[in-house]
């Protein structure tokens, strides 16, 4: 992004074509007309290595997570909306309750509520797969074998632009998620999330916020 902070729609885009939008940062390449009088140092080599190595970690752990989530019933029990929540009325109530900042009931405090479940579903089954798809659609070798991966998205530069927005959505999810955990009792919930240990202490209690 820093080496070319210009984003396009369609198949191609470069310094000679009109961008869809520009990110107002200096570039690490001299030719890019960023409007700044200086060029940042090039960081693409190691950041590409890091990107692809962590991408494999995401793919492998993600596959394990989805397979075990399906086999153990984790998705059915904890992530898909509860039976009595599968209606527009339940959804509207949940949204209205959130907008009025209602405190969750005791039962809800120990489980995932409807909006939480819907956002987890969206992240696991929409955002992550779409991020991987848009990433692969930028690979000239991958699309030589699977051209539809890029043509369905409207072109290689469209894939790059979509990849940026989906990655921003994922970052936003992480930030909001950690912020909500902070409100609900940071230490016990962080511990529970990372180690799988049971949550101790009352949710939202003052002692947990220290």
């Amino acid at each position: 992004m820093i080496s070319h902070p210009r984003f396009y729609w369609g198949e191609t885009g470069n310094d000679l074509t009109q961008p869809l939008f520009k990110i107002p940062i200096p570039s690490s390449r001299a030719l890019v007309p960023s409007g700044y009088g200086y060029v940042l140092p090039d960081q693409n080599g190691w950041s590409r290595y890091l990107h692809f190595q962590t991408a494999w970690v995401v793919v492998f752990t993600g596959l394990l997570y989805v397979i075990f989530g399906l086999l153990t019933g984790h998705f059915r029990k904890n992530v898909f909306p509860r039976e009595d929540d599968r209606s527009w009325r339940a959804f509207a109530n949940a949204v209205a309750g959130h907008l009025r900042f209602q405190r969750p009931g005791t039962e809800e405090a120990w489980s995932y509520n409807l909006l939480q479940r819907l956002s987890y579903l969206f992240v696991i089954f929409v955002l992550f797969p779409f991020e991987i798809w848009t990433g692969l659609a930028m690979s000239p070798a991958f699309v030589s074998a699977v051209p539809a991966a890029v043509t369905l998205l409207g072109g290689q530069q469209s894939a790059r632009t979509l990849h940026l927005f989906v990655s921003l959505a994922l970052v936003l999810f992480v930030l909001v998620h950690v912020f909500m955990i902070f409100l609900a009792g940071f230490r016990s919930r962080m511990r529970a999330m990372i180690t799988g240990a049971k949550i101790t202490g009352r949710a939202g209690s003052e002692t947990e916020r220290t």
Partner: protein, 262 residues
């Protein structure tokens, strides 16, 4: 180990069992990895820059894409999709050898082909142009994020390799720019690929210097930096260790991956 076993029998029974199972698991894991590495090596799925911290990711990229794309063709576009004008990227300053050849209209430009070939040769641009000419409308895609589409005219590298007769043990083609700091290599899948061209023309005209003229190797299934400009020398080899730092190209020496299919 034995001392503590006698003093604390219960906890150490557990730790011994743990030790044996984890030991066995480690041995099995290492054996499996070793076997996988052997198979991968045998089928040409290990890149020359597979060492170091980023090695696992690079090996997975190369191996998975080789299995998926051994014979696939890079996307080709229609004439109406050609970018106007084609984008000439930044080029390091030309050396004296290049400037001299440029002053002579590249009439004395030579391409030397040697290494594991039956008939080492040196070709002029006119000789290369006398070989069957092919064209493709493909995309140049830079790792930086920009791209353009152009018609590339040239001779398939496989034809030149046929003329010089590659030996059966050949595994890689190493290619050098007139600027000796700029060199790269491809495996035989890419070298013999029908879209890998030695290009001397673009969009119906001669190849502009800004886009790599007079002679650029096009490898359209990989990112732009594998399509090295100003080619003067090809070497066919079965081992990349003897070239530079042995990582397969100048790119890993500068911090970039050898395989650039993604």
């Amino acid at each position: 180990m034995n001392d503590s076993l006698s003093s604390k029998p219960f906890s150490n029974k557990l730790s011994r069992r743990k030790l044996i199972t984890s030991g066995l698991a480690t041995v099995a894991g290492v054996t499996a990895l070793g076997a996988a590495a052997k198979v991968a090596q045998k089928y040409g799925l290990v890149p020359p820059d597979h060492g170091g911290f980023w090695g696992p990711g690079e090996t997975l990229n190369y191996a998975s894409q080789r299995l998926l794309t051994r014979h696939s063709l890079a996307r080709e576009f229609s004439r109406s999709q050609i970018s106007k004008p084609p984008f000439p990227n930044e080029i390091p300053p030309f050396n004296d050898a290049f400037k001299k050849l440029q002053a002579g209209g590249f009439a004395d430009w030579r391409l030397t082909v040697d290494g594991m070939v039956a008939r080492p040769a040196s070709f002029s641009l006119d000789q290369l142009k006398s070989f069957p000419s092919r064209s493709q409308i493909t995309m140049v895609q830079c790792e930086e994020g920009w791209s353009y589409i152009a018609e590339w005219i040239g001779v398939p590298l496989s034809h030149v390799l046929d003329v010089v007769g590659i030996l059966p043990q050949a595994k890689y083609v190493v290619y050098f720019s007139i600027d000796r700091d700029w060199w790269d290599s491809i495996d035989m899948d890419d070298a013999l690929h029908p879209q890998t061209f030695l290009t001397y023309g673009m969009n119906g005209d001669t190849l502009p210097v800004g886009n790599g003229g007079p002679l650029r190797l096009r490898v359209p299934r990989q990112l732009g930096y594998k399509s090295v400009k100003f080619i003067t020398h090809l070497t066919v080899t079965d081992n990349l260790k003897a070239f530079g730092k042995g990582l397969g190209s100048a790119s890993p020496e500068g911090g970039y991956a050898w395989y650039a299919g993604i």
